[in-house]
Homo-oligomer: 201 residues x 2
C-alpha cells in the first residue's frame, strides 16, 4: 500500500478510506500485513481520485460509476449508456409527455440517438431550465452549440477503444467527466478574448 | 406579492424566503400589508430562480452573483470579469508559479486575455486536474475544444448588450450559467450520435 501511495501520490489514509467505501478493490493478500496491488489498482485509484477531486462527484456517485465499470457490459453502446447513466447530473424520469424539447432539438440537428436514454433526458432537463428562465435556445444558438458539441464528440468517440467494453466505459467516463470543466473554462476564456477583440476595434 | 407570484409561477413562500436571504430587493410599500413590485423584480426573481434551480448555485453563491449585478460596474469589460468571478466553480488563487498551464494553452490558441483573471485561473485548475488524472489535454484536443469554445463565445458575446454595463453583466451571468448544462448535455447526446453512426457502418 505504501508503494501504491508513492506511485499515485495519494496518501495511505486516503487509500484506506477508498477501500472502506468500496471505491477500490482490496489487494491480493501476500502476508498478514501486506497485500499486492497491481496496475489495475493504480488506474482505478487515479480514476476515483479524478471523479471525486476534479469531477466533484459524491462518494455515492463515484461508487455508481465504478460499479458501471465493474459490471463488464457486453457491448460498447451499452457501455456508453451506462457511463452516462452513472454520471451526474441525476435526471428524473421524463414527464408523461416524454422528452419533447430534447427530441425536437435532436431532430433539428439531424442526429440519430436512442430517444429513451439518459443523455436525451439530461438535454431535455437543461432545455426545460432555460425555457423556465425565459431564455429559450433559439434556432441559431442550437445550431452553433450543436455544431460545437458535435466537433468535440467526434474527437471524444474517435479515440474510444472499441475492442473491450470495459476499456470503452473507462474512456467514456473519464473523458466525459474530466474534460467538462476544461470545456466550460475554455468557453469563459474565449468570451473574454472575443470581448477584448471587439473592444479594441 | 400574490401578483408577482402569479406572473413568475414562483410560490409566495419562496419569494418571502428570497427576500429574507437578500436575493430579491424589497418592494415599494404602498400600504401596511402591500408592496409594489415592478418589472425589475420579475426579472430578478427569474434570474435567482434560474441560478438556484437550473444552475444549482448555493444561496451564498447566488447572493454574490446578485451583488455583482447591483454593483453597477463602470464598464462592460469589468462587468464580464465580475460575472465570471461570482459564478462557480470557486477557484483558489493561482500558485506562486502563476497559471502556467492555462497561459501556455491560451498562447497556443492565440487568444488575447487578461492573464490574472478568474477565467484563466479556472482553466488552469481544470487543466491541472486532467494532468493529475494522467489525461493531459494534447495539442489536437486543445485545438478542437478551443475552436468549439470560440464558436460558442462569438455567439455569446455577439448578443451581449454593450450599452449598459448592468445589462451586460446580466446577460453574461445568465448566458454563462444557464447555457452550460445545455452545452454539456448536447456533447453527451452528440457522443451517442457519433457512436451510433460509427457502429452502423
Amino acid at each position: 500500500m505504501a508503494e501504491l501511495s508513492r506511485t499515485t501520490s495519494v496518501p495511505v489514509a486516503t487509500i484506506k478510506y477508498y477501500l472502506r467505501e468500496g471505491l477500490l478493490p482490496a489487494g491480493r493478500p501476500v502476508a498478514a500485513t501486506q497485500a499486492e496491488y497491481d496496475d489495475g489498482h493504480v488506474q482505478r485509484l487515479r480514476l476515483v481520485r479524478a471523479l471525486l477531486v476534479v469531477g466533484g462527484l459524491s462518494v455515492a456517485a463515484a461508487r455508481a460509476v465504478v460499479a458501471s465499470l465493474d459490471a463488464a457490459p457486453t457491448d460498447v453502446a451499452a457501455a456508453l449508456g451506462a457511463a452516462h447513466d452513472a454520471l451526474p447530473p441525476a435526471v428524473p424520469p421524463a414527464e408523461d409527455a416524454g422528452p419533447v424539447r430534447a427530441l425536437a432539438a435532436i431532430e433539428a440537428l439531424g442526429w440519430d440517438v436512442e430517444p429513451d436514454s439518459t443523455g436525451v433526458r439530461q438535454l431535455d432537463a437543461a432545455l426545460a431550465g432555460v425555457d423556465a428562465a425565459g431564455l429559450p435556445i433559439g434556432t441559431e444558438r442550437l445550431a452553433v452549440y450543436g455544431a460545437a458539441a458535435l466537433d468535440m464528440a467526434e474527437l471524444d468517440v474517435g479515440g474510444m477503444p472499441t475492442t473491450s467494453p470495459t476499456a470503452a466505459v473507462h474512456h467514456a467516463v473519464v473523458g466525459t467527466v474530466m474534460y467538462e470543466p476544461v470545456i466550460l473554462a475554455l468557453r469563459r476564456v474565449a468570451q473574454q478574448h472575443v470581448f477584448r477583440r471587439l473592444g479594441s476595434r
